[in-house]
C-alpha cells in the first residue's frame, strides 16, 4: 500500500482539532479531556500513530472510559451533553492515532462532525463559529485531497498544488454560500437543547462578581479585562474615568470564612424600589454583557429604583421581572446571555435619609461578629480608634491605618482557619475583599454598624457611555451613620481599586467585545423577525431617522480599529503577493529524486563535471569521449529522461538497480584511477 499523502493527514488532524476547539471554547469540557486531545493532536501532527499497533488495547481503554463517563452521568456529576462531547473527543483522538487508512479517515471526519454538533449544543459563541468554519474548510480540503489521491495511479505524485487552488476556490464559494443560506433561509432555532454557557472565553470569570464572598483560597486572581457592563448615564457626567461604585449586593453575615445574607428571596415585580427617590436622580441604561455571567442587577451607588428589564436569550428577547433578594440584591428571574435594564440612583453626594429599607433580621446582623473571632481583632480596633465615637470618623481612621500598614496583592493566601486574622496579623497583605472585610469586622467589634458591599469600581468612557470590566470587581464597606444612612468607605488602597490589566490588552479586548457584540446581534440573535426586517429594508428605504442608526453604530469599533484592520489586510495581501511571486518549487518526482541521488554519487566519486552541466550533457560528453563511465551512465540517463519527460515511470526498485549499477561502475573507475594517481604521486614523494 502506498504512503498516504502527509498534507492530507495534517489537514485531517487539524480539522479534528478545529472541531474539538468548537466544543472547547464553551469552557465546559473537563480538563483531562482537553489535555488528552491536545496531546493527541500534537502526536498526530508529528505523525506518531501510537495506537496503530495497539488498536485492540486502545479500544478497550475507550470502553472503560465510556463506562466511567456513564457512571459519572448517572451519578449526576456530569452533564449528558458534556459527557457525549468528551467521549466524541476521545473517539476522535483514538482514530487520529490509529493507522491512517480510509476507514480511520472517514471516522475521524465523522467524529469531527459529532464534535461540531456537540459544540453547537454547548455554546453559540463567535469563537465556536470560527472553529466550525475552520473545521469545514480543513475537512473539505482533506477529503478532496483523499479523492484526488485515490484517483492518481500508484507511484505517481499527487498534483497537490494544482488541485489546491481550485479546491480553495470551491471551499471559499461554499463558505460564502453557507453565509447566504444563513441570511436568507428562515431561521429554525434549536439552541434550547443543552446547557448553554455564557458565551465568551472561559465562562467562569476569574476576577469578577460572585455570589458569595469567601476569603481564602489559593492561587493568583487573574485580572480579567473583559467588559461586563455597559451603561449610558443621564445626566452625563462627561468624565473619562467615572471612578464610581457600582453596587451589586451587600452582605451582612460573616462566619469567619464567608459572607452571606440572612434574608432570602423576597418579592418579584417588574420594578423594585430600594430607596425613596429624591428630586435629582441619576438615570442609567445598563447592558449586562455575556462575560458578566450573573443575574444580579448592577447600578451606581446608591440605587433607588431598578426595572424595565429585558433579557436577551438565544431564542429571542423578552422582558423579565426582577426579584429582590437579601442584601438589597435585585436579580433577573430569567436566565439569559445578556440583559438590559434601567436604574435610578441617588447622586453620590445626596443625603440618603434615614430610610434603610432593611428587614429586621438584616438590621440585627449589622453588629454581628463571627463566633470564633480572634480576640486580638477587637484589641487592635480599640488601639487604632483610640476612643473615636463617631462612626464615619472611626471608619476613616481605620481606613487610613489599613492603607498605610497593609499591602495590596493579588496572590491568594491559601485556605486558613481564620483568614481575617491571617490577613491582619500574619500576611499583612491581601486584596479588596480582605481590606473590606477587615474594616467591616473592625468597625463591628467596636460597636459600629457596618456591612460589606460588592460590585464594581470604575467605569471607563467608551462612545458616550461607560464600560466596566470583569477585573473592576470590587468589595467595600457600608458604614451606618445615624441620620445619613449607609455611607461608603473603601479600605482598599485607591490605586488598586480598578482593573489591573494592561492598557493594550484592554484595547484589544474592547475591540473583541465590539466585534462579539456585533456577532451576537447579527448572528446569534438573528431571528426570523430580523430576516423580515432586512427584506423590508431592501424593498423600502429605511424609515428610521439618522439618530437611531447613530446609537447602533456606536457599538462599532473606532475608526483607528478599522484602519488597523485595513493595514493588516494590506500586509497580508502584500505577503501573499510576495509568496506567490517566489519561484515555485517544481514537484519532486521520483525521477527527480533519482537524479538527485545520481548527482550525489557522482559528486562523491569526484567525477569531473562542468559547472551546471546536466546529467544529459555529461552523458553525451562521456559517450563522445568514450569515457568508461558512459557504459553505466547511458542507460541510466535514458531511463531518467524517459521517466521524467517521456511519461514512462520508473518501475518498482528500478531506481535502486540503476543506482547500484552506477555505484559499481564508479567504484571500478575509482579503483582504476587510484593506481594511476599513486604512480603520479610516487615520484614526487621520492623526490622530496
Amino acid at each position: 500500500m502506498r504512503q498516504p499523502l502527509r498534507l492530507r493527514l495534517v489537514l485531517r488532524d487539524l480539522a479534528a482539532g478545529a472541531a474539538f476547539g468548537a466544543m472547547a471554547v464553551s469552557g465546559q469540557l473537563p480538563v483531562w479531556a482537553l489535555a488528552v486531545f491536545l496531546l493527541t493532536l500534537v502526536l498526530a501532527l508529528c505523525n506518531v500513530r501510537l495506537v496503530a499497533r495497539h488498536a485492540r488495547l486502545s479500544a478497550l481503554l475507550l470502553l472503560v472510559t465510556a463506562v466511567l463517563l456513564g457512571l459519572q452521568l448517572t451519578s449526576g456529576a456530569m452533564n449528558a451533553v458534556v459527557v457525549a462531547c468528551s467521549f466524541a473527543g476521545l473517539i476522535a483522538a483514538q482514530r487520529m492515532l490509529s493507522t491512517p487508512d480510509g476507514a480511520a479517515d472517514g471516522q475521524t471526519h465523522l467524529t469531527g462532525l459529532l464534535m461540531v454538533a456537540g459544540g453547537a449544543a454547548l455554546s453559540g459563541d463567535m469563537t465556536y463559529a470560527l472553529c466550525l468554519i475552520a473545521f469545514g474548510v480543513l475537512a473539505s480540503l482533506s477529503l478532496a485531497l483523499g479523492v484526488v489521491e485515490a484517483a492518481v495511479p500508484d507511484g505517481e505524485p499527487v498534483p497537490v498544488r494544482a488541485v489546491l487552488r481550485p479546491l480553495s476556490g470551491g471551499v471559499a464559494f461554499a463558505v460564502a454560500g453557507a453565509v447566504a443560506f444563513f441570511v436568507l433561509f428562515p431561521r429554525l432555532n434549536w439552541a434550547m437543547v443543552g446547557p448553554r454557557s455564557a458565551p465568551g472565553l472561559g465562562a467562569a470569570s476569574s476576577a469578577g462578581f460572585s455570589d458569595t464572598v469567601r476569603l481564602g483560597g489559593a492561587g493568583t486572581i487573574k485580572s480579567n479585562p473583559r467588559v461586563v457592563l455597559r451603561a449610558t448615564l443621564t445626566p452625563d457626567p462627561g468624565r473619562d474615568a467615572l471612578d464610581a461604585y457600582w453596587v451589586g449586593r451587600t452582605y451582612d453575615t460573616f462566619d469567619g470564612q464567608e459572607w452571606t445574607n440572612v434574608a432570602g428571596a423576597q418579592r418579584t415585580e417588574r420594578q423594585i424600589t430600594l430607596h425613596p427617590a429624591t428630586d435629582t436622580l441619576l438615570h442609567q441604561r445598563v447592558e449586562l454583557l455575556p462575560a458578566y455571567g450573573g443575574r444580579t442587577l448592577i447600578s451606581l451607588e446608591t440605587p433607588s429604583r431598578l426595572g424595565n428589564a429585558v433579557a436577551h436569550t438565544p431564542t429571542g428577547t423578552r422582558s423579565s421581572t426582577v426579584q429582590l433578594h437579601g442584601g438589597s440584591e435585585v436579580r433577573f428571574t430569567l436566565t439569559a446571555t445578556s440583559y438590559t435594564y434601567e436604574a435610578y440612583s441617588l447622586p453620590p453626594d445626596a443625603k440618603a435619609g434615614t430610610h434603610l429599607n432593611l428587614l429586621q433580621a438584616e438590621s440585627d446582623q449589622l453588629l454581628a461578629l463571627p463566633e470564633h473571632l480572634d480576640p486580638r481583632v477587637a484589641q487592635l480596633a480599640a488601639r487604632v480608634l483610640a476612643g473615636e465615637k463617631e462612626p464615619l470618623a472611626a471608619a476613616r481612621k481605620l481606613t487610613a491605618w489599613l492603607q498605610r500598614d497593609y499591602a495590596y496583592t493579588l496572590e491568594l493566601a491559601g485556605n486558613s482557619e481564620d483568614p481575617l486574622a491571617d490577613f491582619l496579623f500574619v500576611r499583612k497583605a491581601g486584596h479588596c475583599e480582605h481590606f473590606a472585610t477587615a474594616l467591616t469586622v473592625l468597625l463591628r467589634s467596636q460597636g459600629f454598624s457596618a456591612r460589606l458591599a460588592t460590585g464594581f469600581f470604575g467605569g471607563a468612557r467608551l462612545d458616550g457611555g461607560y464600560i466596566v470590566r470583569a477585573g473592576d470587581a470590587h468589595a467595600w464597606t457600608h458604614v451606618l451613620v445615624p441620620g445619613r444612612g449607609f455611607v461608603t468607605v473603601d479600605a482598599t488602597p485607591p490605586s488598586h481599586r480598578t482593573s489591573q490589566a494592561s492598557a493594550l490588552l484592554e484595547q484589544v479586548l474592547a475591540l473583541y467585545e465590539a466585534v462579539e457584540a456585533r456577532w451576537r446581534n447579527s448572528v446569534v440573535d438573528y431571528s426570523f423577525r430580523d430576516q423580515f426586517e432586512l427584506a423590508s429594508a431592501l424593498v423600502r428605504p429605511p424609515r428610521r431617522p439618522a439618530q437611531a442608526s447613530n446609537t447602533l453604530s456606536s457599538r462599532l469599533p473606532p475608526a483607528r480599529a478599522w484602519l488597523t484592520a485595513l493595514g493588516v489586510a494590506f500586509i497580508v495581501w502584500r505577503v501573499s503577493r510576495f509568496l506567490a511571486r517566489r519561484p515555485r518549487r517544481a514537484p519532486r518526482m521520483e525521477a527527480t529524486r533519482l537524479l538527485d541521488r545520481v548527482d550525489a554519487q557522482l559528486a562523491r566519486f569526484r567525477v569531473p563535471r562542468f559547472e551546471d552541466e546536466s546529467l544529459e550533457e555529461l552523458t553525451t560528453r562521456f559517450a563522445r569521449e568514450g569515457h568508461p563511465l558512459a557504459l553505466a551512465l547511458v542507460p541510466l540517463t535514458r531511463r531518467y529522461l524517459e521517466a521524467r519527460f517521456g511519461g514512462r515511470a520508473l518501475r518498482e526498485g528500478e531506481a535502486e538497480h540503476l543506482l547500484n549499477t552506477l555505484r559499481r561502475a564508479l567504484e571500478a573507475e575509482a579503483a582504476r584511477r587510484a593506481p594511476k594517481a599513486a604512480e603520479q604521486a610516487g615520484p614526487t614523494a621520492r623526490a622530496s
Binding site: A586, T592, L595, D596, D612, S614, E616, E617, T620, L641, E642, R644, F645, G646, G647
Partner: protein
Amino acid sequence: MERLAAQLGRAVQGKPSEVQRVVTCVVAGGHLLLEDMPGVGKTTLAEALARACALSFSRIQFTADLLPADILGAQVFHAATATFSFRPGPLFRQLVLADELNRAPPRTQSALLEGMAQGQVSLDGETHPLPSPFTVVATQNPVDFSGTYPLPDSQLDRFLVRLSLGHPAPDVEARLLTTRGAASPLASVEAVTGPEELASLRAFAAEVKLDTAVAEYVVRLARATREHGDLERGASTRAVLALGSAARAQALWEGRDFVTPGDVRAMLVPCWAHRVLLRSAVQGVSARDEAAHLVEELSRKVAAPR
C-alpha cells in the same frame, strides 16, 4: 534521418553537427537560413539535400533587379488559344535555394517570405498552392553589405534555424583538395528518401511528446530573453513554437519520442540567435556572434527542469 545525414555528410565534409542541424530543420518542417562567407559549401549543402531527399530543386540567385514575377511565375498569353495561363516560376519546387537573399529588393523578398509562411502564392487574385513539402534554404553573406536590403526582423523570424558553416578544418580542406578533382561530391549523393517519407518523418516529429516541465522551460527561456537588459526585443511566441518543433525534431534525431531539456538547449542558439534584437548598434558578424553568445548565456542562467 541518419541515412540522410550520411548522404549530406558526403557532400559537405567535416561538418557533422551542422549537417545534423540541417536535417533536424528539414524534419521539423522549417526553413533554413545559411549565413556564411561565399565558398564554404552552402549551395552544395542545399543541392545535396535536394538530391538525398529526391525533392524537386531550383536555385534562385537573388539580385538587386529581381522582381516577384521572376520567382513566382506569371500569366502568359497563349496566342493559339487566346487565353492566359499561369506559368509557375522557380519557386514552385519542393526545395528552393534562395541564394543571397538580402540582395533582392524587399518586394521580392516579401513575395518569397509569403510563400514560406503560407505555403501558397497569390498572383493576380489567384492563389496557387506550393508543392509539399516546401522548404526554402536561403543564404546570406554577412560580411559584404554593400547594395543589400537587410531582412527585416519579422522576416528573419520565419526561418526556423539559422546556421553558419564556417571554414572546414585544415585536414578536411586538404582532403577536398586531393579528391575533389575526381568527381563532383554531389554526384556521390544518392537519394535515400522521398517526399512521402519526409512527410511521414515530419508527422512523426510532430507527435514527439513535449512534457509540461520542458514546455515551461522553453517559456522561461523566452521570458528571460524578453527581460534581458541587453536585448531590445526577446523571443516571440513564434520563436517559442519554433524552438518547440526544432527540439522535437532533435529528439527524433536522438531516437527518442519525447523532448528533453538537452534537446531544447541544443536547438536554442540556431533557433533563437537570429530572432532576438540587440540593443547595441553592432551589425553584421559581430552582432550575430553577440546574439548567439547572449542566448547561450541565458540558457546557462535559466535552470533546466530536473
